[in-house]
């Protein structure tokens, strides 16, 4: 069981670092998906450990939400690309103080 969780945390951390270092919005988005998948693995593993299916239900909901999120996120990326001709997250920095 511990190894599953360790793998999950490892994937999660890799996804987090990817979010931090990648600049292509699509890849950043993929890294977010990786993090979500890592949590799903933890859910499924814990479901097995506790002997009930609630964890699997949670993972299922995560997938649903992730699907919706990807739809919207990619639509945003497309519309940003259409107006700015770039997908670099560093170029969307109008919010700076």
């Amino acid at each position: 069981m511990t190894e599953y969780i360790t793998l999950s945390t490892l994937l999660f951390s890799i996804g987090a670092v990817g979010v931090l270092v990648r600049r292509n919005a699509i890849i950043v988005f993929m890294c977010v998906e990786l993090m979500l998948n890592a949590t799903n693995l933890a859910f499924v593993s814990f479901a097995r450990q506790h002997g009930n299916l609630d964890g699997q239900v949670a993972a299922f909901f995560v997938m649903v939400v992730a699907a919706a999120e990807v739809t919207i996120g990619l639509a945003i990326i497309v519309s940003i690309y259409r107006t700015r001709r770039t997908t670099s997250v560093d170029d969307a920095n109008l919010l700076k103080a």
Binding site: A16, G18, M30, E33, R48, A66
Partner: protein, 267 residues
């Protein structure tokens, strides 16, 4: 355990690929590897329904969506090597490693209980058990996800939609413009040759060769120009070049049609 130890290194390596891959397509492929492996791990952990869903939803739907968008914005658009934010990479590495070590240590410490296993819960079958839960305890959340999906669909449509401000040119308009261009600048009023004509490749991004052997840039579909397909030049540089020479982003046609025949044709 065999499955785990076989798949875990592959998954970690593929995940690392997500960080280090220069090309977005490679990153997407790495992610697909991770997801399929994950589906297998679900199967290994008595979650056949999730296994199927993972394959269908993630690798089937979501990854395809990613690839579609990648194709839209340019497959080979790549990050520049130079990090623009000072210390971002080092800080990310330090924080990421610290986070991984700390989290795995803490979580591993806390999951020392015995594994119960899902034999009891899956007695009537995994799908049956999940359905019982979904339509009883989690029915409200389930209904909310339905609303969420609707909203997401509408949102995606709104975001991707672009309002047409001027009516599309008719065949007669296009014809008149061609003739006017011909009168004013002597531009050939007929169709340009298709890409690859007389060239060594017949790929769509290879300009046609004129009878005297010189390449004809207009033969390449206009929308390919902003997306360096297979070239070595930096995506940023290409964009800068286009913006310096070409029309503004809003006037640029968004589809692969010949620029002379399309005006704001949206999908």
């Amino acid at each position: 355990m065999t499955a785990f130890w076989t798949l875990a290194p592959v998954m970690v390596l593929a995940a690392m690929g997500l960080i280090f891959a220069r090309k977005a397509v490679h990153a997407a492929l790495c992610l697909a590897v991770v997801m399929i492996s994950l589906a297998m791990l679900y199967a290994a952990q008595d979650a056949p329904f999730l296994f199927a869903v993972q394959i269908i939803v993630y690798t089937g739907a979501i990854m395809m969506l990613f690839l579609f968008v990648l194709m839209l914005v340019g497959v080979e658009a790549r990050d520049s090597v130079v990090e623009t934010i000072k210390g971002q990479r080092a800080a990310a590495a330090v924080v990421g490693i610290a986070f991984a070590v700390l989290l795995s240590t803490v979580v591993a410490q806390s999951v020392s209980l015995a594994v119960v296993g899902l034999d009891g819960a899956n007695a009537d079958g995994n799908v049956h058990g999940l359905a019982t839960l979904l339509f009883s305890r989690y029915v409200l959340a389930f209904e909310f996800t339905a609303a969420l999906m609707i909203v997401a669909v509408i949102g995606a449509m709104v975001l991707a939609h672009r309002e047409r401000l001027v009516p599309p040119p008719t065949q007669a308009d296009l014809q008149a413009r061609r003739m006017r261009d011909y009168a004013e600048s002597g531009k050939h009023p007929g169709n340009p040759p298709t890409p690859g004509v007389f060239a060594r490749h017949n790929a769509v991004d290879t300009p046609a060769l004129l009878p005297d052997g010189t390449p004809l840039p207009e033969s390449v579909p206009g929308t390919l120009t902003p997306r360096p397909q297979g070239g070595t030049e930096d995506a940023d540089r290409a964009v800068a070049q286009i913006e310096a020479t070409g029309p503004g982003p809003d006037e640029r046609p968004a589809t692969t049609e010949n620029p002379e025949t399309t005006e704001g044709d949206d999908q």
